[in-house]
Amino acid sequence: MYPRNLEHSDCFVIMGSNMAECHPVAFRWPMKAKMNGAKLIHVDPRFTRTSANCDIHAPIRAGSDIAFLGGLINYVINSERWNTDPFFREYVVSYTNAATIVSDDFKDTEDLEGVFSGLVQYTEKPEWPYNAFVGSYQPASWQYKSPSVQGQGEQVAPTARSGEQKAAQGPQAGQPAGGPTGPQPPAPLSWDDVVRSLKRPPPQRDPTLQNPRCAFQITKRHFARYTPEVVEQITGCPQAKFLQVAETLLQNSGADRTSAFAYAVAWTQHTYGVQMISCCALLQLLLGNMGRPGGGIMALRGHAAIQGSTDVPTLYHSIHGYMSHPTVLKKHDTLRDFITTETPSGGYYANLPKFMVSYLKSFYGAAATRENNWGYDWHPKIIGDHSHMAMMAAMEEGKVKGMICVGQNPATSLNGSSQRAAMRKLEWMVVKDNWMTETATQWYSAPEIKNGDVKVADINTEVFFFPSTQIAEYDGSFTNTQRMLQWHFKAADAPGDCKTDTWFYYHLGKRLKRAYENSSAARDQGWKNTVWDYDREPAETAGEISDEPDELKILREIAGFQTADPTKHLAGFGELKDDGSTTCASWIYCGCYPAPGRNLTARRQPDPPGAPGAHLNWGWAWPANRRVMYNRASADPQGRPWSERKRWVWWDGSAANAPNAQTGAPTPAGKWIGYDVPDFALTKAPNAQPRPDGIGLDAMSGLDAFIMKPDGKGWLYVPSGLVDGPLPTHYEPVESPVQNLLYPKQQTSPVYKHWAKAKNYNQVARVGDPDYPHVITTYRLTEHYLAGAMSRWLPWLSELMPELFIEMGRALADEKGIRNLDWVKIKTPRSEIRAKALVTDRIGVMNIAGKRVHHVGMPWHWGWEGLSTGDVVNDLTSWVGDPNVSIHEGKAFLCNVEKD
């Protein structure tokens, strides 16, 4: 799914996103669809600029999204349309795991009053006591009925794993701890046999969906309680509105119509954020909307390169292309361990050995050999949750000495005053930014300094500020929310000492290379062997003195080349090898730079107006320049478009094929073609059967549209990969004004994360706490960006939203004697801030199971630097988060509001 594809949608539900305000240009496309008759729906606690442009606005209490989505699932499954239109049955049986039988050991929340089978206590390990789980699941019972789907289960964020958990589950249980102490055998010439050895018989299926243990029946029972009445009670959304949404969505899904969802951080920033998205995926699979034009789920990401920084991960838990970061919490001791733990035998991910070896070659170059297992042992391993909040909790305890912060502003981030307190304990801190951020200046101008609580002289941190270049002052690529890499060119020189951020790390690296040049210590060998050469060719710098690194050299290392000849770039990940002959940091980016002088990310060739297509000559989208993932599902099981209207990718049985390049054997006629790059083995016929000894795509049938999944199916029921349950369940946010109506015995997710739980600075309000009675949500505005560094210094943007405000309903304002523009105090157990009141009916009081609950909302763009300044809204938030991904719960918590 990508924004422009929304112009093909018939119904578009925006939930967990304020798309018109936060992605205004992307909203161009649903508005085009609306002009053509599509229905737009916004489900949100606030009536925003998005709601204003939608046909339906359904107000729900912040954090109650799963109740709403669950209600939709229940409505759909029991609707007449879904049970009579053959499309739904055909799609679901063919392309999802609805028919797959689940282990008899699995117990649902319905059986266990709100928790799944396998819940255990969690205890921190002393080496890294910042994993912060409040509980933990042993997910063995969630598997498909034996023989189980294996491998993909380990694609869990390492955040989610603890040593105990690992030890208690799965085939690796009981293996001896400890790393390689003696010499290891060299890596094999090919890993295919290793992968083949992981192969298990396929799981059992019941295509009639009647088996009570099939994923569909389990799902159906799981959501049976989510009736419109219950939805209204939990979410506060009037039943009529809910039913209107459900019916509109259902009527606009089918062979001839598609519906899409969009979400953003209002779905991720919860203690069950991953489950919200999972719940939506479940619904969209049931409705047959995945992999089809105008269908699917649009993940609206928030930063220009946030997709890129996840693909090319400046994130602790993964290495390039979503491979798990080697960790002590899983069996990753050796490269072989890593590969056997991480690789599924089925699906495209079975090629992981090729990805990993090519990655290690990009890291250690010639020093990475088969003998030393491609330098795997030099690569660091993580020892727990090193995510943002975990690191801040460690920093606050003095466990972190230095910090390098580039283009980010933690001083205004979650529970901001605590992050500032943590940073004051650093020995040194480097801030590199385009603007003077609050992080750069917090040591002399934070609120706690200004009010005298902390003295500047008592802060012993050595602080650096390096100015940065702006976008038009350097070359490089961003990966957008469509997974599309787009190159931007330098237009002008940067002023003064402004250097690119890449320059900064590159030249630091050069200095540290020199510093360790003479070290013979084992621990320095990894760094000594790290390939570090991005100098510009002299010809490129002729006429200008530039010590900026060569961005194209970096891109080449990411996108890959033949190890023997770096001028021979790789045309795609199909060319990757696991024998060291290919060097490629990121398998998913492989192919974006297929030859010197052919940087496909810089392409700017749109399709001609009116032509059906996906603008394949504009930029380059991973994987393999595909625009809609899993687009095999846009054709029916026989390979025909589901309908003429929804034509996207289809099977052309008559297309002639070139003979097999290696064997010369003729290839049978038939090929997948369409408006997009087919996300399927190009010549695999719809009726193809898996090869019995096949691994990877060879293990898949012509119906296995979801090629990244080990079983080729879209997952309604998630047997592995999530740490908080195989099915989404409604829980309350950690701070909630009401009891969990669905499962009174289980208020919150049983396994969320709560860092610094015992510390004063990270306390949370009790359920229904009278001191903190109002639900508060935080958000962005169109006029500002993030914590404001890139907008609050710009007069043209500052003037549009010049001051911080709190939006509150008239009822609350009347109750508290607050008038529009009055100063208001907002208080949580963490902090208290001030803002001006904006009294409106766009937010207000909701009826939650008979209790009147006031909603308030605050944009979080402000801090004390810039032209437009204001209090730090994130000072109110807490360090509690999602157990899968360690993302905080910033979208639903409690506060009190008083007139100042």
Binding site: V406, S477, T481, L485, G526
Partner: protein
């Protein structure tokens, strides 16, 4: 059509004036001269450089007009299938990211306990940061866990940032960190 409207205007105005001031009407009547003084087009003779908006993740394409080495205008690239030349207010304000008196251009350093910044040389500051990284790394590096597992890492340095920066930055930054064993690498995607 246009002419008709304009004649209508002349007639209407003339009638109004005529009532009041009789014969004076018509003198110096200059309502319809197409003689707007040609304003010089700001981007005339400028170079156009393709770029991408650095704000949200939609990836709107922009065109940057440069004249004499200075950025003089930034607007949407009409060819782009993402934005077709349109922009949001942030994208439309990219010019002010570059041309802005509030922009910092000097390297600043604060000694432990000091009250104020000092402006320092870029080269010195880089040397000093490299020195601090080496010192902290060497002091805190862990080769093996207590149970003997090889880890080759340190958790004492925290590298933050990347979601607002290029893929190339992210690659170099993460490689720098992982090369040195710095495992606590995070960016805005987490929060």
């Amino acid at each position: 059509m246009t002419a008709t409207r304009r004649e209508f205007l002349r007639y209407a105005t003339g009638a109004g004036v005529g009532t009041a001031l009789g014969g004076l009407a018509g003198l110096g009547l200059t309502l319809a001269p197409a003689r707007a003084k040609a304003q010089a087009l700001r981007i005339k003779d400028s170079k156009t450089v393709p770029s991408i908006c650095p704000f949200c993740s939609v990836g709107c394409a922009t065109l940057i007009h440069v004249k004499d080495g200075e950025i003089i205008n930034i607007e949407g690239d009409p060819r782009s299938p993402h934005n077709e030349g349109t922009l949001c207010p942030k994208g439309a304000a990219i010019y002010q990211l570059h041309r802005n008196p509030n922009r910092p251009t000097k390297v600043l350093h604060r000694k432990p306990g000091a009250r104020d910044w000092e402006v320092v040389e870029l080269g010195w500051a880089m040397d000093r940061v490299a020195e601090l990284i080496k010192k902290t790394r060497d002091e805190t590096f862990v080769e093996r866990m207590p149970d003997g597992k090889l880890v080759n890492m340190t958790t004492s340095i925290f590298a933050l940032g990347g979601a607002t920066l290029d893929n190339e930055f992210n690659h170099v930054a993460q490689k720098f960190c992982r090369g040195l064993g710095i495992v606590a690498i995070e960016n805005q995607a987490r929060i």
